[in-house]
């Protein structure tokens, strides 16, 4: 199991080495990975349909309660199958769609990473591993959206989506930390037991708000939806995989997963209903005015996600069942439509809805796939979408509050969505074929088979819903709602209100298609709406934030090293002075100070003389030499107090520093006093204050009882545990070895920084010449 989840990461790390191999005609080999995983997860199906959930644990950081615990239940299996199943088709599709791309191997690497992250997220039972994988999906999707990194728009979209989903990530972390703190466990399955405690806790509201922000940012709910249309800049396989079937469903997954823990509370249900309901209507409304196939799909996806949130908000067993079914239908038809759009874009070279028509004559299988997806999307019998739509109407009608209003909103949304699906699935293929497209030909089978498969799946499941009813949908529903009653999915319910509503939806959508034509008037009207949209607000905010950052940087980090030092020291002085004069009782215990020896006296005298010399000398070089003297004097003091390690290191470092100084100062002009006496006075005063404060602190430290436990532990165990007699070194390389490792990494980074800064300067100089 651990291998299955991590395989995406493992494969991704080997992809760069097989770059040449994968860029060529062997690129489809990687399709095997999701395929194998798909079969692997299918093997869990029998166990899970018997309602046996499986918990598999692998220790990671057991001391902090962070472990790779994987929970295979209906919900996670449903998602895992979707991720790997659609993943297989997308991987296959990509090998033809992106054929000849210079960085195809890299693209596949990102896809593998993303798949691994997604799988890890849906299978995690530990909230912290869930969080880690959640963030990994954000990061890998950043690379995928910005894949065309030479396109400015593409980079910007990637950044916006990372910013929005990353923001959600912060809130998720906060929510999880609170939940873990209150429930006393980091395991989701154990949290089910403390659901009542969580719901009655004073922080419940805060948790829910944080969790909602996370879920809404990932699943593109109003007002955090705006990153999704922008993310359509990504290559079509990415849009298919991330933005229809998997990543955007992560938020839905999160809400569904925590419904048994936090749900069935008025705040939870009402918020989800309001936000989801508004989003589905808002996005569906926008989708019908869009002219680009992918943009239409983006908005209809947001709308579908809104509907899912809305259904989760309703919270009744029927609604949760409807949501489960709708997750499947939506993934099937939306992925199909995206793949179809990709083929149209690839072959006809445009996604403009107005320009496309008659393509069925040249792309028949694709047209068929589009039609099938449209049927499922519209809920026209006998597609699986029809089953799903019936369930949705059933649940809104059964709602306790405002059944009529909720049903009306849903019907209206569905009419708009139906219009959008006809626009994408049928419009490009209907009518006469323009001459411009006469040379369009059917692409490689690897491109048209996946959408056809997905499209047919929608139809087959509609005819035989029993195939997945007991095996997949029922366990999934039970993991969202453990008390759900038995149900039976069927295509034909007889003549009732629900059938009437379905008929209204279908005819409404078809009428809209024939009578509504977008016009210029709509455009100008939408333009006004756009100005106050959340995207504009967010962009304005980021613009102002950048301006503020620029001003702030100019103020604090203006490029003059002396100002930096001045600011750092005065800030530190103020902070320390405030702390030590308000909260510490100040006294000096002179009896603690050991008597001055003659050797110390000599060293001290030299030290003080050297300091005075540094301040007053007119020559830069002698100032450096005097600084060296100060350093060596400090070495001697270390020697007096039996710290040979420190002394030796200080000695070597001082030598190097003096050499460095001389190297830098060698070519500098002569010392000239630039600063006015006022500035010198200011600097002098700050230095004096700082020095005085450090002295006071040093005296103060003497009064504090030293913490002997750690010291004694190191001294006692240095030889027995680490076989070393030099305690300082044992601490460095053994007891606190990780610290040292990080320190040498920092050293490396700073050396690289120096190198980059100076070489960059050189290049600039060269260019000017």
């Amino acid at each position: 199991m651990l291998l299955a989840v991590l395989s995406g990461f493992i494969v991704a790390s080997f992809v760069p080495f097989a770059g040449k191999f994968l860029r060529g005609k062997w690129s489809f080999v990687l399709t095997l990975l999701p395929l194998i995983l798909f079969i692997y997860f299918l093997s869990y199906l029998p166990a899970v349909s018997g309602n046996g959930t499986q918990l598999l644990s692998f220790n990671w950081v057991p001391s902090m309660g962070i472990n790779f615990n994987f929970l295979v239940d209906g919900l996670s299996l449903l998602f895992a199958l979707m991720i790997t199943g659609i993943g297989t088709l997308v991987f296959l599709y990509t090998s033809a769609y992106m054929k000849g791309d210079a960085y195809l191997d890299r693209f596949y690497g990102y896809l593998c990473l993303f798949m691994g992250a997604m799988l890890g997220m849906v299978l995690s039972d530990n909230i912290f591993t869930l969080f880690v994988f959640w963030e990994l999906t954000s990061i890998s999707s950043f690379f995928l959206i910005g894949y065309n990194n030479e396109n400015k728009e593409s980079r910007k979209s990637a950044l916006i989506s990372l910013a929005v989903t990353g923001l959600g990530g912060f809130f998720l972390m906060a929510a999880f930390a609170l939940m873990g703190y209150i429930a006393g466990t980091y395991s989701i399955s154990e949290m089910m037991g403390s659901a009542a405690v969580l719901k009655e806790h004073g922080l419940y509201l805060l948790i829910v708000i944080f969790l909602f922000i996370a879920a809404f940012s990932k699943s593109a709910q109003y007002p955090l939806h705006f990153w999704l249309p922008g993310a359509m800049k990504a290559p079509t396989p990415v849009s298919t995989y991330l933005h229809s079937a998997t990543m955007v469903k992560a938020g839905i997954y999160l809400l569904a997963r925590f419904t048994p823990v936090l749900g069935h509370v008025a705040v939870w249900n009402n918020t989800l209903m309001i936000v989801g309901g508004f989003t589905m209507l808002y996005a569906a409304f926008h989708s019908i005015f869009k002219k680009d196939l992918k943009e239409i799909l983006a908005y209809s996806t947001i709308s579908a996600l809104g509907m899912l949130v809305f259904l989760l908000g309703l919270g009744t067993s029927e609604a949760l069942l409807a949501a489960t079914v709708f997750i499947i239908t939506h993934a099937l038809y939306k992925a199909t439509l995206f793949l179809v759009t990709g083929i149209i874009d690839h072959e006809a070279g445009t996604r403009e809805i107005a320009a496309l028509s008659g393509l069925r004559k040249v792309l028949l299988p694709v047209a068929l796939a589009g039609l099938l997806a449209m049927l499922s999307n519209s809920g026209i019998p006998p597609s699986f979408g029809f089953v799903g739509k019936d369930l949705i109407y059933e649940s809104t009608l059964g709602s306790e509050i405002g059944a009529a209003a909720l049903t009306a909103v849903t019907v209206f949304t569905n009419i708009l969505l139906l219009y959008a699906s006809i626009l994408v699935g049928v419009k490009p293929f209907a009518g006469p074929l323009p001459d411009a497209f006469s040379k369009v030909h059917l692409p490689d089978w690897r491109m048209w088979v996946p959408p056809l498969l997905l499209g047919s799946a929608g139809l087959i499941l509609g005819l035989f819903p029993g195939v997945i009813e007991g095996s997949l949908i029922s366990p999934a529903l039970l993991s969202i709602d453990p008390s759900a009653p038995l149900f039976h999915l069927q295509l034909w319910h007889g003549f009732n209100t629900i059938l009437g509503l379905s008929a209204v939806t279908i005819f409404g959508g078809i009428l809209l298609y024939f009578f509504f034509k977008p016009s210029l008037r709509h455009d100008t009207w939408l333009e006004k709406l756009y100005k106050s949209s959340p995207k504009q607000v967010a962009l304005q905010f980021s613009q102002h934030f950048r301006n503020f950052a620029a001003v702030w940087t100019r103020l604090i980090q203006n490029g003059y090293l002396r100002i930096y030092v001045l600011i750092i020291i005065s800030f530190l002085t103020t902070l320390l002075a405030y702390k030590s004069f308000t909260q510490v009782v100040f006294y000096v215990d002179l009896s603690q100070i050991s008597p001055l020896t003659s050797a110390e006296l000599v060293v001290m005298t030299i030290l003080i003389a050297a300091v005075i010399y540094v301040v007053y000398t007119p020559s830069r070089l002698s100032a450096v030499a005097a600084m060296g003297v100060i350093g060596y004097c400090i070495c001697l003091i270390f020697v007096f107090y039996s710290a040979p390690d420190l002394a030796m290191t200080q000695f070597a470092i001082d030598t190097l520093t003096v050499i460095l100084f001389i190297l830098v100062l060698y070519r500098l002009p002569k010392y000239i006093t630039y600063a006015s006496w006022l500035i010198r006075l200011r600097d002098g005063l700050i230095s004096l204050f700082f020095g005085a404060l450090i002295t006071i602190l040093a005296l103060e430290v003497l009064n504090e009882p030293t913490q002997k436990v750690t010291t004694q532990f190191y001294a006692a165990n240095a030889y027995t545990l680490a076989k070393g007699k030099n305690v300082v070194n044992v601490i460095l390389v053994d007891f606190r070895g990780i610290d040292t490792l990080i320190e040498i990494t920092v050293l490396t980074i700073s050396a690289l920084g120096v190198f980059a800064l100076l070489k960059l300067q050189l290049n600039k100089y060269d260019q000017e010449l």
């Binding site: 070597a652 390389v733 490792l741 690289l752 120096v754 190198f755």
Partner: protein, 136 residues
């Protein structure tokens, strides 16, 4: 700075200082010393050489760019840290050979780690100093 005495002295000082730095590195586990100090001393040796014979000659003497030393040292340190992990022990557990080697003494993963520190420090110090002296 190109006096004869200085050059001649450096010719002798360089191997001596390098030997000394390795000595410091090896004794670190029992007596004052260690990888950090050893690395600094080694870099002082090379800087002296650069002063005496010019940077170009020092670079030729080193054969590899000091930049290369940094990742090598880091890799060594990381390797010594995960070595116990490969044997199923927690990361950074000290592993030791059962018998001391001649001259060097008891060898363990801590020495490997310290060697990594030594190489990183040498690489860092030389990179910074060489870069600065080339650009001023």
């Amino acid at each position: 700075m190109k006096q004869l005495i200085f050059k001649t002295a450096t010719n002798f000082l360089l191997p001596l200082l390098l030997l000394f730095s390795i000595f410091i590195l090896l004794r670190g586990h029992y007596l004052p010393g260690g990888g950090f100090l050893g690395g600094i001393i080694a870099s002082i040796a090379f800087v002296l050489h650069a002063f005496a014979f010019g940077l170009r000659n020092t670079r030729r003497l080193l054969r590899v760019s000091p930049m290369v030393l940094m990742p090598v040292g880091l890799a060594l340190a990381v390797f010594s840290a995960i070595l116990p992990f490969l044997q199923g022990l927690p990361i950074m557990t000290g592993l030791w050979l059962s018998d001391p080697l001649p001259v060097i003494g008891l060898v363990g993963s801590a020495l490997l780690f310290d060697l990594g520190v030594y190489i990183v420090v040498l690489g860092v110090a030389l990179t910074i100093i060489f870069t600065i002296s080339e650009s001023v």
